[in-house]
């Protein structure tokens, strides 16, 4: 892998994605990011695309532009995601569709198009995002958690399909981190959730970049199809 890697991160406008784009540009990597809306501030070594991650045409166009500009892609971090915390009996089908479109279809499209580019160089690292809501089977998160379950299975199967091209595919499952995504959860519920972890604290952004860094290390070329949950779930 080059010292200055080309890293594509989805969902970079805020939260974890925004942190990761800053973290990797500061390390000297070239970062390409995307979100529905533009970024509030510009970063050096950063190029932003405005798109819906589940829009196949726009996603393909992003990869054409990426190929024209950089001719290769080292890393894809599929961070974009939306959540809806609600009892299943009160969840409209439109919400289910929206969550699966962004979380699962978006992840699938980016994995597919990234692997097309990565296999040219016989190298690639893909990191997907799941959640501790999957192993904890959290009530009120049926749709969000099942969209992430689908991502876990996708991760394991793609690891096998892309393995021959030296592309690793892994996933990280963060515990609650203080971002917009958990704004709709009550403090009481979050505290109860944290009590189910082996280490009872909120996740920090650095906990996430630490696991991603592990997946990206050159020495991790034999680590694929794995899901790492933070906090000791």
């Amino acid at each position: 892998m080059d010292k200055n890697r080309v890293i594509l991160i989805t969902g970079t406008r805020k939260g974890i994605g925004n942190y990761l784009s800053r973290y990797y540009t500061e390390k000297g990597d070239q970062v390409i990011g995307c979100s529905r809306k533009p970024l509030k501030s510009q970063l050096p070594n950063y190029h932003h695309f405005c798109l819906d991650v589940s829009d196949e045409k726009c996603v393909k166009e992003l990869f054409v532009e990426l190929y024209k500009a950089y001719h290769h892609l080292d890393v894809l971090i599929n961070n974009a995601g939306i959540a809806s915390m609600n009892h299943a009996l009160l969840t409209p089908l439109a919400t289910v569709r929206k969550i699966f479109e962004t979380n699962y279809f978006g992840t699938f499209l980016f994995c597919r198009e990234a692997a097309k580019l990565m296999r040219k160089n016989n190298f690639g690292r893909i990191v997907n995002f799941t959640t501790v809501a999957v192993p904890l089977k959290l009530e009120g998160e049926a749709v969000y958690a099942s969209s992430k379950s689908a991502i876990e299975t996708l991760t394991r199967v793609l690891a096998r399909e892309f393995g021959a091209d030296n592309i690793t595919v892994n996933a990280i499952g963060p515990t609650p981190v203080k971002t917009d995504l958990i704004n709709s959860l009550s403090e009481k519920k979050l505290t109860a959730l944290i009590q189910r972890q082996a280490i009872n604290r909120y996740g920090e952004l650095r906990d996430i970049s630490n696991v991603i860094d592990f997946f990206l290390r050159p020495e991790s070329d034999f680590v694929t199809g794995q899901v790492i949950y933070l906090g000791g779930i």
């Binding site: 393909k60 166009e61 097309k116 296999r119």
Partner: protein, 102 residues
């Protein structure tokens, strides 16, 4: 009108790229009648992936068009566009024409 000869040429170039990685006895012929995939086809599923990706890439490079060849439409055609080089060329022309018509 999409130039079919140009499309065939693009497929032939993709075949040339593929042939670099194939043993001498498995070389694909650059002909409209070459059977690619299915009964008595020369490609297995991974070989087809390689060809489809190479053709998509060359279309983008040479025609500045973005196409997805393995879409629902391709998979549901009675006459598979991946059967022969000729069928594939025809299908690509059809896709590009449709894109032009909006």
């Amino acid at each position: 009108m999409v130039d079919r000869n140009k499309i065939e040429q693009i497929i032939f170039e993709a075949i040339e790229d593929l042939n670099f990685q194939r043993p001498q006895e498995d070389q694909l012929k650059k002909s409209e009648d070459t059977v690619l995939f299915g009964y008595s086809g020369q490609l297995d599923s991974l070989g087809l992936v390689d060809l489809v990706l190479a053709v998509e890439q060359k279309i983008t490079e040479k025609l500045d068009k973005v196409v997805t060849l393995a879409d629902e439409k391709a998979m549901s055609q009675k006459k598979s566009p991946f059967r022969t080089v000729g069928f594939l060329a025809e299908y690509i022309c059809q896709l590009l024409e449709e894109e032009k018509d909006g």
